[in-house]
């Protein structure tokens, strides 16, 4: 599973349905199944990520798989081994799935060409982060009962966001309408050709939306100055109750984390229990990743297996 782009609505719905089945299990005392007993999953993270890696690890363990976390800071990558050598070395150990995160767009596609096990993209550069989009969709679907016809605003640093790209694809495949909102310097060229509506201010961008997805300002990926200052960014693009007034009264607030409070989101909004579903997103993340692992390496050859 390398990206959302190109998946069918049936595949996505199937994965979401399967994810639903794990939510109750995860809430119960007995969380573990043996569906993936004997399977090996390697989490290969070339870029730091505590939450995504932990989420994949929890998901795989709850299904009974053996999980190995590759810590790149101590691996041979630092000794100059190339991405493909690392991939082929791990491949020779016959894992059933490799979960990969990398700071370069396309790195996971490249790696997947050289191994013969399942590869799950846990985020590649500014390209895609498919399981994040799936967990966002699951969160929305549980709260709103559907995706079809909803109006979703994705706000902030669109340019550097793989989460934005995966969500744009998924939401549109499922029949939702998508707006992107942010300063022009953080909009990728020709983003409108992906079918989204582009807004440069929150007032028009958030008007009547059902869902507000905030993105983290990814200063670590920025070369040069994209916004003059954090305080100016917060003033115009940070989500607070004032800006939220134009959205639907029951609009949900989402954020893929980690949040920069006071940069793209005000603490009052982030912690608003009525509207913020940020923690629910994290919970859904485990269920979605369990579903992906089951569909891809669960051995149950069902329709969802087509997601591979």
């Amino acid at each position: 599973m390398l990206g959302i782009e190109g998946l069918s609505p049936e595949t996505i719905s199937g994965l979401l349905d399967l994810s639903e089945s794990y939510i109750d299990q995860n809430r119960s005392l007995d969380k573990r199944r043996d569906l993936l007993s004997g399977r090996t999953v390697i989490n290969l993270f070339f870029e730091n990520s505590t939450r995504t890696r932990t989420s994949f690890e929890v998901a795989a363990k709850r299904l009974g798989a053996d999980v190995i976390n590759m810590d790149v800071t101590t691996s041979s990558v630092k000794k100059g081994e190339t991405l493909l050598d690392t991939a082929m070395t791990l491949n020779a150990m016959r894992p059933d799935a490799i979960v990969v995160r990398h700071s370069e767009s396309g790195a996971v596609n490249l790696l997947s060409q050289k191994v013969n096990c399942t590869v799950i993209n846990a985020g590649d550069g500014q390209h895609e982060h498919p399981t994040q989009a799936l967990l966002d969709a699951l969160t929305i679907r549980r709260r709103r009962g559907r995706l079809q016809g909803l109006l979703v605003a994705i706000c902030g640093d669109i340019m550097h966001s793989r989460v934005a790209r995966s969500n744009i694809h998924l939401l549109q495949i499922m029949g939702a309408r998508v707006r992107v909102v942010g300063p022009p310097t953080l909009m990728p060229t020709d983003i409108d050709r992906l079918g989204v509506e582009v807004h440069y201010n929150m007032r028009t961008g958030l008007k009547d939306v059902d869902i507000v997805m905030m993105l983290r300002l990814q200063t670590e990926r920025m070369q040069g100055s994209f916004v003059p200052s954090i305080s100016e960014y917060f003033r115009f693009f940070g989500l607070d109750h004032e800006k939220l007034k134009v959205a639907k009264p029951d609009a949900l607030i989402m954020h893929p984390g980690p949040m920069n409070r006071g940069v793209e989101i005000d603490s009052e909004v982030a912690d608003d229990l009525d509207r913020s579903v940020i923690h629910e997103q994290v919970e859904m993340g485990v269920a979605v990743r369990m579903a992906c692992l089951e569909a891809l390496i669960g051995g149950r050859r069902n329709a969802i297996g087509a997601a591979a």
């Binding site: 782009e5 190339t82 991405l83 493909l84 990398h102 370069e104 767009s105 396309g106 790195a107 596609n109 490249l110 590649d124 550069g125 500014q126 390209h127 895609e128 793989r162 790209r165 990728p188 060229t189 020709d190 983003i191 050709r193 992906l194 070369q223």
Partner: protein, 449 residues
């Protein structure tokens, strides 16, 4: 690997008649059935009626079986790894690839390690060419020391040593004052300055800006980075009266602006390379690093404009822009991959698409491939003229084949045209009257009458 490289043949002596050929004369803008007579390595005669009733007694003759015979290609943009990165390409392996590609003269870029910013390196290339004895080799001198775009290189001394023109290769000179001085200074030697117009502060991206880059999550290099520097360079030519040649034009806007400058009578010429008229940015889909080039592959609209520019003559020449990269430089994530593609062996077949598609006559095509680049750089080859060196290419324009990286003679295989079906294959390459390459399917019925 379907042919023979003929090394070590002695200099051509006596006379050889190439008969029963379809002659392409770019300078005369014509194409006809006829013959070419070579004497002592030079073109002695040519024409439609020459040897119409057979070659005279005592002259060796080669039956061309109706294949096309044209001035050999003059490739004004070749990079090899010698010196510095011989594992990617040596001057010898490049000369072999050029021979297979019908290229009889190639001009080497100065961006090696060390860079050609010193007369001794220009002499080094000349010496290696004499040793290798295949395709003619010439070298550019660096425009600035270390190709850093700061201080002028020793153009006069390098010109004396044989540098044919001056360029900083794929490095654009961002500082207008430096390029202004370079144009002024070169004018004193009547030297041509070759410049890649890409505004450096805007061209840091990995592919052309647009929908595809946005989908792939790769940082973009806007087409505008080219035209704004073309416009600046045109003003500098106006100011200095220097001779400027812009290289690797890739956008519609640049073609428009250069056309206008030429109409005003400015001494500006330009070239493009096959990727820019035969491919667009879809070729880097799925992160195909063989399609990562400088400048990046552009949109379909730009590609069409480049074809139009070649038709109208706004674009004067076609270069291969041969730049070998090994697997280690290409089998990495796209943003980390080295840019560049090999082109010596595909220059002719891909360019022939312009003729097959009726966009250019063969005579016009060979103006772009042979006569014009030779003329711009003051090289002796590239034309059919009595007394000119007998540098010729014999090719079968209809020979259908599929480009396959496994078959390249170049040391590295990074062709953006891998797996492309093409039509047109070199049957023989002749330099100074000597046949340096012959395709397996061509048997010169060398019957001395």
């Amino acid at each position: 690997m379907s042919g023979d490289i003929l090394r070590g043949a002695p200099p051509h002596a006596g006379s050889t008649a190439y008969i029963n050929a379809r002659i392409i004369d770019p300078t005369g803008d014509s194409e006809y059935d006829g013959a070419v007579l070579i004497s002592d390595g030079k073109i002695a005669d040519f024409g439609p009626n020459l040897f119409a009733s057979g070659a005279p007694y005592g002259i060796q003759s080669v039956d061309c079986h109706g294949h096309y015979l044209a001035p050999g290609l003059v490739d004004a943009r070749v990079h090899t790894g010698e010196p510095g990165e011989e594992h990617k390409e040596t001057l010898e392996s490049a000369a072999v690839a050029a021979a297979v590609g019908g290229i009889t003269s190639m001009v080497l870029l100065p961006d090696n390690e060390p860079p050609f910013d010193d007369a001794s390196l220009i002499e080094f290339v000349a010496r290696r060419a004499r040793q290798i004895k295949l395709t003619n080799m010439y070298a550019y001198g660096a425009l600035t020391v270390g190709l850093e775009g700061k201080e002028l290189a020793e153009m006069g001394l390098m010109a004396e040593a044989g540098a044919v023109a001056f360029t900083d290769a794929d490095h654009a000179v961002g500082n207008a004052q430096v390029l202004r001085r370079a144009l002024y200074y070169a004018k004193g030697f009547d030297a041509l300055v070759v410049h890649l117009p890409q505004e450096p502060t805007l061209s840091g991206g990995h592919m052309t800006s647009g929908e595809m880059a946005t989908r792939l999550g790769l940082s973009g290099n806007p087409p505008l980075a080219e035209v704004m520097m073309v416009e600046r360079d045109i003003r500098l030519v106006e100011m200095t009266g220097g001779r400027l040649h812009l290289t690797k034009i890739s956008t519609a806007e640049s073609v428009k602006v250069i056309a206008a400058a030429k109409a005003r009578g400015l001494k500006i010429t330009c070239d493009t390379a096959p990727p820019y008229f035969a491919l667009n940015d879809l070729a880097v889909g799925d992160y195909r690093t063989f399609g990562k080039l400088v400048p990046p592959l552009r949109s379909e609209k730009d590609r069409e404009a480049i074809v139009e520019g070649l038709k109208s003559g706004v674009i004067d020449a076609i270069v291969s822009d041969h730049r070998p990269q090994d697997q280690d430089s290409k089998r990495v994530p796209f943003a980390q991959a080295e840019p560049g593609g090999i082109g010596l062996e595909t220059l002719l077949p891909v360019s022939l698409e312009l003729a097959h598609n009726k966009q250019l006559s063969l005579a016009r095509l060979f103006q772009r491939l042979s006569a014009t680049p030779a003329g711009l750089l003051g090289l002796p080859g590239g034309k059919l003229a009595k007394g000119a060196p007998a540098d010729l290419v014999l090719f079968d324009a209809d020979f259908a084949w599929k480009i396959d990286r496994v078959d390249f003679w170049s040391k590295t295989k990074n062709s953006p045209f891998d797996e492309r079906p093409v039509q047109g294959r070199v049957m023989a390459t002749i330099v100074g009257g000597r046949t340096i390459y012959r395709h397996d399917s061509f048997t010169p019925a060398a019957a001395a009458a």
